[in-house]
Symmetry: C2
Amino acid sequence: MTGTLVGVGVGPGDPELLTQRAVRAIREADRVLAPSSAVDAVGRAESIVRQACPGVRIERLVFAMGQASGSVEDAAQVVVAGLDAGQQLAFVTLGDPNIYSTFSSVAARVRELRSDAVIETVPGIMAFQELAARSATVVLRDTERLALVTALDGPDALAGALADPDQAVVVYKGGRHLPAMAKALASAGRLDGAVFGELMGLPGERVVPVAEAAEGPAAYLATVIVPPSGR
Amino acid sequence: MTGTLVGVGVGPGDPELLTQRAVRAIREADRVLAPSSAVDAVGRAESIVRQACPGVRIERLVFAMGQASGSVEDAAQVVVAGLDAGQQLAFVTLGDPNIYSTFSSVAARVRELRSDAVIETVPGIMAFQELAARSATVVLRDTERLALVTALDGPDALAGALADPDQAVVVYKGGRHLPAMAKALASAGRLDGAVFGELMGLPGERVVPVAEAAEGPAAYLATVIVPPSGR
């Protein structure tokens, strides 16, 4: 008898953005696991699930800052113990479980420890989709292209993507570099129409033009959309 | 008194992939409009909504092949008449309403006709997210990048995006060019891990490696994911 691990995307913040499939996966699970920065801290995914699926008990998996590999190992051990006991485990994660998600690291380690593990995922709405909706931004039309990048290595990732006027650019995790990104957008003539969002669906949400947000740094999980300029 | 137009993303095919917000927008609307290729043809979005929201009446807006601008004008006229009557209109659309959606064209024309129209959107799961889930493909990790392109102008859009080993490439609407795309992937050493999906969540669904699907052309709305090769 062997269990199942399901990575469930819960979207960026609004509990109404869970899909029906996500709600079902959470409700049907024997145990629901959520990443958290500390054992007594309610993480963002847990907060969303508490609202979307009232009454569901959530266990925290601690992912300590700067101790990524140890945290992944600990989480994988919890999962493997559950799978060996035949349990159905739902691992809830912000956005989509196959795009920049901690879930991928945990699943990869579980796969190393149990090569026959059954591992599935349920897609989730990504932050930039919600930002597009909230800001009335058409991301792509016709044969336009999208570049999705992170600014974890600095604002240069954005500069290279701006050369193509028919390419929309989405930047994740660029809060720290927002002033530098605004400067790069202005230089490239792409500041107009560029939008910024943080804490979407959460208290303190901010959705504004990049030009208005660029006076200081923003939250780590900030999102920027730069629409194509060649329309 | 003025109405509201809401573009509602219904995902790629499985009715369980509607979000709670999408279901609510459809249920609360006075009228639900769905694009269709003929007045007596049930379009894909209509089919999804029939399953996800049983009992909801759906009106078809005909988008005839090769008559795009006339169809958009006709649809906008239907919408404007509804808005002027104070109705809440839900326009359902495959995937996400801000990414390669007919909704954007209709909304833009409605905005020209009624500059003060209230137009909103509800995000939807995109086909590539469902393909990633069904094929157990991790699209992005760490600081990897994503290029989302269409093959409407031919398979060359893919070739240019393959040079960067840390970039995942998603190709939409490339069914016709699948054999050529497989050849380009093989030349670039990127065929391994590349997955193909069509009719996801619908009868006849196919989710297979590109290498297995490339013997002939596929459906128009096919999706290909090429994961990063630099892992």
